[in-house]
């Protein structure tokens, strides 16, 4: 928009003097000079105001709640009032007693904290890899080969969301039961009467994959669908085999989507607790279960908030990597 550029580079006095003239002209329907015809004049706050709803939402739904988590973690509990949390909102009153205690137990190798954390990493990494492999294949097929069934497949991918997650997991409870269909099917392979719900890691990983895989498929599909056919043809023209074209053209082009998918899928998995509540036992307790249990326990809120902060820092590390990657890609483009 060259018109605005001239306006702002012009001396302030001149700009102010010009504005009324331009407005008058527009009201009269005067097409004006070629420079001004291209754009409409907007007040200074016009474009920035577009970001206001997002900013307000971010403040009220993220910044303030997160600050409360800090205040609870660095606050205390009132044993005279059933151990309810007494948050310290003012940073100069913050007490790091519980937080330090929790952190020390972490370092000291306390099984209470370390076991669920290692388990969480194990399950989340395994589930993310399965989500990626299966999700990429489904997305690739849908984008490249589904032709007229594309719409149908996409609807089917989204359709599980029409039923509550809780209901679907209850269905899994029935399927995985010792006398359920899965045991019947696996029976001939020596799996007779396996209790999948007694706290088996494989069940939790299945639950996580099941719950989150659509979030992996959709961004990858969107990216693969947008890859221009001509790029793939160029790859083949230059002598690449099908596999080489995929490896050197399709995969690099879908890399941002893969990263986005992994982030979308892993972040909620790290905090997930209901999958284990419904399909596992204490033997498969994840970090989220630890937090949820502490929030329910008498006088546990301070420790629960401390654990939330610790988890946030742990999750921040892969998140930073993602941000750096995307920034690099933007710069390359």
């Amino acid at each position: 928009m060259p018109e605005i550029a001239t306006e702002t580079t012009a001396p302030v006095g001149q700009e102010q003097a010009e504005e009324p003239r331009r407005r008058r002209r527009r009201r009269r329907g005067d097409p004006g000079t070629s420079d001004e015809r291209s754009g409409v004049w907007y007040p200074r706050w016009y474009w920035p105001s577009f970001i206001a709803p997002g900013t307000i939402a971010l403040i009220f739904l993220f910044v303030l709640p997160f600050y409360v988590v800090f205040s609870v973690a660095f606050g205390t509990v009132d044993f005279n009032n059933f151990g309810t949390a007494v948050p310290y909102y003012a940073p100069w009153w913050w007490s790091f007693h519980t937080f330090n205690g929790t952190l020390q137990q972490f370092y000291a190798g306390s099984h209470i904290y370390q076991d669920p954390l290692f388990r969480t990493f194990e399950y989340v990494i395994a589930a993310s890899i399965i989500c990626l492999v299966v999700g990429y294949a489904v997305a690739y097929y849908t984008a490249r080969f589904a032709t007229k069934y594309k719409g149908l497949i996409l609807i089917l991918l989204v359709s599980p969301f029409w039923i509550s997650y809780l209901m679907r997991i209850y269905a899994w409870q029935g399927l995985l039961d010792t006398d359920g269909p899965i045991n019947v099917i696996l029976g001939p392979f020596g799996f007779r009467n396996t209790n999948f719900l007694e706290g088996k890691p494989i069940t939790i990983i299945l639950g996580l994959v099941y719950g989150y895989i659509p979030f992996m498929i959709l961004p990858i599909y969107a990216s693969l669908d947008r890859i221009q056919e001509s790029l793939l043809e160029a790859g083949r023209d230059l002598g690449g085999s099908g596999a080489q074209t995929f490896w050197r053209v399709t995969l690099p082009l879908s890399r941002p989507a893969i990263l986005a998918g992994i982030v979308i899928v892993t972040l909620p998995m790290f905090g997930d607790y209901y999958t284990n509540d419904l399909l596992g036992s204490t033997k498969t307790s994840m970090f989220g279960n630890l937090i949820s249990q502490q929030t329910e326990a008498t006088a546990g809120s301070t420790r629960a908030a401390s654990l939330v902060l610790i988890l946030s820092v742990i999750v921040l590390i892969p998140m930073m990597y993602y941000l750096r990657e995307t920034k690099r890609q933007v710069e390359q483009a």
């Binding site: 928009m1 605005i4 550029a5 702002t8 580079t9 200074r44 706050w45 474009w47 920035p48 970001i51 206001a52 900013t55 307000i56 403040i59 910044v63 303030l64 606050g75 205390t76 009132d78 044993f79 005279n80 009032n81 059933f82 151990g83 309810t84 007494v86 948050p87 310290y88 909102y89 003012a90 009153w93 306390s110 099984h111 209470i112 904290y113 076991d115 669920p116 388990r119 010792t178 209790n195 007694e198 706290g199 036992s281 204490t282 033997k283 498969t284 307790s285 279960n289 630890l290 249990q293 502490q294 329910e296 326990a297 008498t298 006088a299 546990g300």
Partner: protein, 417 residues
């Protein structure tokens, strides 16, 4: 090309962000700058210090925080909000009450006592009638969360064992704030079609640690109950233990049966899952196993249900309470509800119709219960008698630092450590 106004966009962000934080909540932030707790020295804490923890040897008379409502107060039009454990009242009885007083009863439920207490303390639920366990009454009264009962409005208290009104229970002498709702013991529920009575009787608590039932063992997902059961199993009778070694041994025992025998922590294991065949043995409140008969699949006789209770004096016994929170909007109606639940006919119907938890009524005799087929003969030991209260162990409120020890042990169990 780069837009020159980019700079002002960033400025906008900083300004808008700063203003949005500062303006509306300025007052709140300033108010929060004083250190909480330090502003009320001894204020709320002292009330609690004045009321000691109640035990059978040290019965407590709770102070009157306010006057009870007048006995001629008009009956409100409702609705009556009942805050209760899940599946802990017979819908027919509630229906009868609604019909009699032409009001709505709204039932809100909790799955464990901690959840119930937290929501009443935070004001998330404002019930007219609340069903706590004795261990919480002292703290509820100290926090002004309960209102005293108007005894004139609860004439049906005469149906209840005299010990509950004269002198009154150890936790509320003179029943200023509470009436008993149900009574129950702790024991082992089992499937008689899968295990012999004699085998369970011989094992006792050990049945919950028996590898033969691996994958089919249920324990309550409730720290006070299950750790206490483990203490009994370990051969101690110190169910209110303050000894770290005893608590640690109990923790190890629970972890052992979880890890070796795939024992599960449940809340509906006894009344719903055991009749469905999911479990063979389970830690049980006596009322849960009596109630289990209404959850049996069609065609399965009640004689598959068994309940083992150790000899008198070797298990725990307790009762739940009906109380009226101070926030009640319909206190007179709440009194009517309590009186209604203590009515011989309605209270007994609640027990025998579906709930399975027995009220401490004079009219309920163990022999007749079994004779009339209300309690299956195989569950005779699940009937509670006044005699048991004199001999069995009572779980008390634990001092907060000891309670924390129990909770820490439980956290470790729940973390699968």
């Amino acid at each position: 090309m780069r837009h020159p106004r980019d700079i002002s966009r960033r400025q906008f962000l900083t300004r808008a962000g700063g203003a949005a934080i500062a303006m509306p909540s300025l007052a709140a932030i300033l108010a929060a700058c004083t250190k909480p707790g330090s502003t009320t020295p001894g204020g709320s804490g002292s009330a609690l210090d004045n009321i000691p923890i109640a035990t059978l040897d040290n019965p407590v008379t709770l102070p009157m925080t306010q006057d009870p409502i007048a006995s001629n107060a008009p009956i409100e039009s409702g609705p009556l909000v009942l805050y209760n454990w899940a599946d802990y009242i017979y819908k027919k009885v509630v229906q009868d009450f609604e019909d009699k007083f032409q009001v709505d009863v709204q039932i809100t439920t909790y799955n464990n006592m901690e959840e119930g207490i937290q929501k009443v303390v935070n004001g998330q639920v404002a019930p007219d009638v609340f069903v706590p366990t004795p261990g919480y009454v002292r703290r509820l009264v100290a926090k002004n969360l309960l209102q005293p009962l108007q005894h004139d409005l609860i004439p049906n208290m005469s149906n209840v064992w005299p010990t509950y009104s004269n002198p009154g229970p150890y936790y509320d002498v003179g029943w200023h704030y509470s009436v008993p709702y149900t009574i129950y013991t702790w024991g082992v529920a089992y499937r008689r079609d899968l295990v012999d009575d004699a085998v369970v009787a011989q094992q006792g608590w050990e049945a919950l640690w028996n590898h033969d039932y691996a994958g089919k063992i249920s324990l309550y997902d409730s720290y006070g109950d299950t750790l206490a059961i483990a203490i009994l199993r370990n051969g101690s009778l110190d169910v209110n233990s303050q000894d770290p070694a005893v608590i640690d041994a109990a923790k190890q025992a629970v972890l052992q049966t979880i890890n070796d025998n795939q024992a599960r922590l449940t809340i509906n294991g006894v009344y719903a899952k055991l009749p469905a065949g999911d479990y063979t043995v389970a830690e049980a409140w006596s009322g849960d196993i009596v109630g289990a008969q209404w959850y049996l699949p069609n065609g399965v006789g009640t004689d598959v249900l068994g309940y083992w209770k150790p000899e008198d004096g070797k298990t725990m016994i307790s009762n739940d309470l009906l109380t009226i929170p101070s926030v009640s909007k319909s206190p007179r109606l709440a009194h009517e509800f309590i009186n209604f639940m203590l009515d011989d006919k309605e209270g007994t119907l609640n027990f025998t119709g579906w709930n399975g938890y027995q009220p401490p009524f004079n009219s309920i005799q163990p022999d007749t219960l079994v004779q009339k087929g209300i309690v299956p003969e195989t569950l005779t030991s699940a009937v509670v008698t006044e005699e048991m209260f004199k001999k069995d162990l009572t779980p008390y409120e634990l001092p907060s630092d000891i309670d924390q020890m129990w909770l820490d042990a439980w956290t470790e169990i729940k973390a699968g450590a």
